[in-house]
Symmetry: C2
């Protein structure tokens, strides 16, 4: 979608302007004038007259000149009725503020939304909204919003599904220097322009250095995923998303359903596409601040200088808990520090470096000069607490000077309020990203470093996937198994394992025993040890009915287990399996409404749901992504050679995971799939239990 | 230690005053005058003259009147040399700023510290410092610090091991209304007055509503623990502690050592004593703010009102992730809301309640009136984003009015900066705890609720412990086992289990087999299945050398295992055990330098260190505390009846844990102990592996 003329129009008509200072029709006109829009601006209201020293047109028809954008500050029904007239004037770009559409959640709203979509389609209209608060463009000095303020100019492009959050950000940026928005785009109902369109526009926009995205959901998952992956290769995309806890409220039939909630899938998509997810609003703005000033760490190795030892240690704690590291100060630098400070001032020369409470600006300068060239410094944090003789502004000047000759970021954390304001103003004037507290910068540094890592492994890189064809003969066999199970909501163990085997996932040999003779025949075939499991069309959770007997080594114990199983209500027999060994791995797949097939892997066995040591990714993904997925859990450490064991063949494991994905893509009738456990040995895997939900 | 006359002296002498405005001797005198000290103030400097319009005494001897407190703004050696003179004047309360003592870490510093302690002891001196920045007392208008500001008056008592953090807090509070300190006590080296003395003083002080404590370590763990437990029953104690990551750097011989780092033991002490640990400085001040204004949630059930749906959902996400809940709005209230808002304004009537972007102060008022009396409301959060027509101050007034007639806290979160400042000022004037962002209040609400729960289960409650005597005969037996192992750093499996058995922890029968005959004799005794484990005086981690063969069911497999074990380098034989079953539980004990015996429990087996699903507590603790300890891990869910299994007898498990504690208390020669795993069945436990480190 081409949105250049939409967001940077040469001429604008605001329809429904008003003299009432509380009305949207006044606010948007006043904002447009106050922002200093340089194109042609037409105000329209049937009453005519003047407003803001401009004459008001009674009708859009009066205007002879071409209009690039119409802003409708009129009620919903009036707006839709106006479309034919606008179309006649060849106006196809429209901002619609009005609410009363699908967001209301009633029949009337749905009907209105439908009418709107039809009208847009009929007249070829590109629409922002409805139920939005408009947009602003720094390039063209457009302020098509009813925000409280002129939007501060800057290089952050903010796409928001909440107008309110735009008002918060603008309110905050107004009080700062050199921090502002290239574009603010309030999405509203996203009836035509959706988040992906806006994202694509900002990704290509040269004035936007970083994209900020507040999201509650997406219109088109696949489109979003592709747009996001392209955008992050060009510039950072920082996302704040609400709705993390919805998942818990949904009952799920399979483990996979319960283990991969909607929001965790969004998180996975953000990871897969290189976006940075902020946990809170303040973390969001902290990241935007860093990227806007282009103060981005080059590695997770941080040097800390402070005039308060304890606070330095608090920060160090936070860095380490974010998996960042403290730069090791070399002996050369330690000697240098000892030399420049001399005997009179006994500073701490290991990182965090404590310059003591009486540190002067000159002390800071000496310490900075001696240390920042230390190898491996990815970022520097300089803490200052306002003590009796602290030279606040002078120290700020020292830091700005140091930053100007240094290619890695220096983050001043000047704590407190009144005393340090002057320094923060100075930092902003000189585009140094400074903070009042260190609470969020550790998270922000960690996330910025992970984005950097993403870029270095993805930029210019083409994804490789394994062969993804399922042979026609196999398709036929699987289809026939699926068909015969049509009346049941899930396949039994035998059929589920058969399908796993057909797609190439090794499975434990399984025989259904209904009689003691069956049992002994199976044991003769498999040899001890064996596992017995209840076979039942009714029972969903085997372990909860004591329906699994592993590690049977004798006729005596096997027979006892067999009789116990048959005595369970609903038992149709017992499955006999050759006992498998190894780590118990969980592997599942589900369909997500937004993003399609999602794969879940992690700790298997009966503790899978207790420990929830799992991760998910949207299919397909590469083997490298599979490894990074495992690293989201402690399974990676286990599988890569835990306590002297041989590491597991990750290629083999990945190929199983990939085949499950292909199964899901090939057979839309499969809703969910659990393989739990898949026994994993260094060079062998074997599924011993599986369930396919239709 | 009686500190009333120390912190509220009738007369003060400042020794070493100075005309140099950068010197401590000037700053402290000026602060004392500026703070408005009402007692008698004497300034002393050999040069005499006048300072701050007061005459300066040349010598302390010149002063005829009694002096309650001397503040020494002189170098370390000068200070110590002055003690005899001070003693002659009967001055026993001293504040010493000077550095140069043990904190320097060299021999000279240590010597000076020793001299200081001797002088204090000789003259019976109560000393604050050295290496501190003094203290302030709001009651007596004492400002014996060299902070930048007059200390704002208030009801927060702040004990800080970092002077710098005091300067930050004061700088921040200066900019606020109605938020300040009853006392600020900078601890310095804690050579005489330690954190427990200061804590005890503030706990009993009627002007202190909440105690804030910044800690890096403690002087006397047992004294601290007891003082803290007493203090939290009187008023909340909020602690910020640095040094969370030190633990990782220490190598540990046992699992317990690695699983219970120093800082996690501090966390446990805080929990056991009912203190609230803040994770960051901002969370620290957020909690202080709530407690200072006495706006404390009565339960974790929160009602949210907002004029921004998305932000309301973000907050709801954070509440749920903090294990808090959203109040369920009753149908009656929903109807009431629908009625008062009428058809024209379709607000969301479930919690979080969305009053929409155009919400007026009157809308907020209607919604508050209709909802806050809802049953189960433990706290109310009212979000406001500064949108075009938002009535910021008016809404603040509505909230203050509502709070004044309501017994539970209402927390306004007015987001943004410039526009909402006026509202925050208004809130502070009326002692309503308001915030700019909701980032920290969810943590703060959660922690305040947990403190409330602690109080309700501990106030007026006497702890019950099991019988703790070890019979003399048992002591004798254990001593002889310990003595025979004197040359080794740890006991072998057999001896370790024998000791467990002697103290009353059931163990698996274990026989050391050196020959095949031994093996078969043992198997004949135990019957299959059995476990074989390597016996070795050299090998510390059995699983890492493949030294464990569980679930052996046949002569064939047992013999094979036996030969494999004997082939391992360093093998002295193989232990044969009857195979035990159940959940694998970890139980350990270690000695902490500060707090003595620490017990660790959690997930056992080979994954204990991988998943670190463990918790620790300082011994002794009650069964209730043991349950709360298990709840820190997911083991509690597992043991209390996971997926249809019978729940475990917690009394039985607790008695084992307690006996391990008694063992540690009785035998100081035991350094650490691991039992891993202890197999746990509903009504039976059995230790199958143990190691005692001497």
């Amino acid at each position: 979608m081409e949105l250049q003329s939409f967001f940077n129009p040469q001429s604008i008509a605001i329809i429904g302007v008003s003299h009432d200072r509380h009305k949207v029709g006044y606010l948007v006109a006043a904002n447009m004038v106050d922002q200093g829009y340089e194109g042609k601006l037409f105000l329209v209201n049937p009453k005519g007259g003047t407003l803001l020293n401009r004459s008001v047109h009674k009708d859009i028809k009066e205007i002879d000149e071409p209009i690039d954008l119409a802003i409708l500050a009129v009620p919903a029904d009036v707006a839709i009725a106006m479309f034919p007239t606008l179309a006649k004037k060849k106006i196809t770009n429209i901002v619609l503020f009005a609410a009363g559409f699908k967001e209301v959640g009633d029949a009337e709203g749905a009907k209105r939304e439908k009418d709107l979509l039809e009208a847009c389609s009929k007249y070829g209209i590109t629409l922002l909204g409805p139920n939005c608060i408009g947009f602003s463009s720094n390039k063209s000095k457009v302020n098509a919003t009813f925000l409280k303020h002129v939007v501060p100019a800057g290089n952050i492009g903010f796409i928001s599904q909440s107008g309110a959050l735009g008002s918060v950000m603008v309110d905050e940026f107004v009080a700062r220097h050199n921090l502002g928005l290239s574009y603010f785009i309030s999405m509203g109902n996203k009836s035509i322009i959706d988040e992906s369109d806006a994202l694509d526009f900002l990704a290509k926009d040269p004035e936007t250095q970083v994209i900020a995205l507040y999201l509650e959901g997406v219109v088109d998952g696949e489109k979003f995923k592709q747009t996001l992956a392209r955008a992050t290769l060009i510039k950072p995309v920082v996302i704040l998303k609400s709705g993390t806890t919805e998942a818990g409220s949904q009952a799920a039939m399979s483990h996979t359903g319960g283990l991969a909630g909607d929001d965790s899938i969004f998180s996975s998509v953000f990871k897969q596409c290189g976006a940075i997810r902020a946990a809170t609003y303040v973390e969001f703005t902290t990241l935007l601040h860093m990227f806007s000033y282009d103060r981005v760490p080059t590695s997770g190795s941080v040097l800390v200088l402070s005039n308060a030892g304890g606070v330095g240690v608090l920060l160090a704690d936070e860095l380490v808990s974010e998996n960042l590291s403290l730069v090791t100060v070399s002996n050369r630098t330690k000697n240098e520090l000892t030399k420049v400070f001399g005997d009179s001032k006994k500073i701490t020369v290991h990182n965090p470096i404590d310059l003591l409470g009486d540190a002067s600006a000159f002390d800071y300068e000496k310490a900075i000069t001696s240390t920042i060239q230390e190898r491996d410094v990815g970022a520097v944090v300089i803490l200052l607490t306002p003590q009796a003789n602290t030279e606040i502004l002078e120290t700020a000047k020292v830091i700005v000077k140091a930053q100007q000759g240094f290619d890695r970021p220096i983050y001043p954390v000047f704590m407190g309020k009144d005393s340090v304001q002057i320094a923060h103003d100075y930092f902003q004037e000189h585009m140094v990203a400074s903070f009042r507290y260190h609470d969020y910068i550790t998270h922000a540094i960690g996330k910025a470093v992970r984005y950097r890592d993403y870029l270095s492994s993805h930029a210019g890189h083409v994804d490789h996937f394994p062969d993804s064809e399922v042979e026609p003969a196999v398709v036929k066999k699987i289809t026939s198994i699926l068909n015969k199970s049509k009346e049941r909501p899930f396949l039994d163990l035998e059929d589920s394992l058969k399908i796993c085997e057909l797609i190439g996932v090794p499975v434990a040999e399984t025989i259904l025993a209904k009689t003691e003779k069956d049992l002994h025949d199976a044991i003769k075939l498999f040899k001890y040890p064996v596992t017995l499991k209840i076979a039942s069309k009714q029972i969903t959770h085997k372990t909860e009915v004591a329906g699994v007997y592993p590690s049977l080594h004798s006729h005596e114990s096997a027979e006892e287990a067999f009789h116990n199983l048959l005595a369970i209500k609903g038992a149709d027999g017992a499955y006999v399996q050759k006992q498998a060994g190894g780590y118990e791995f969980f592997m599942g797949a589900k369909r997500d409404a937004n993003f399609g097939t999602v794969i879940v892997v992690g700790l298997g066995g009966i503790y899978a749901e207790l420990f929830k040591e799992v991760a998910n990714r949207v299919f397909p993904f590469t083997q490298a992504e599979f490894i990074s997925m495992l690293k989201d859990t402690r399974m990676h450490k286990l599988l890569s050679g835990f306590r002297g064991h041989a590491p597991v063949d990750m290629g083999l494991l990945y190929s199983c995971v990939f085949r499950v994905g292909i199964l899901m893509e090939t057979f839309p009738q499969i809703k969910e799939l659990d393989i739990n456990p898949l026994f994993v040995l260094p060079d062998e895997v074997r599924a011993v239990d599986a369930r396919i939900i239709l």
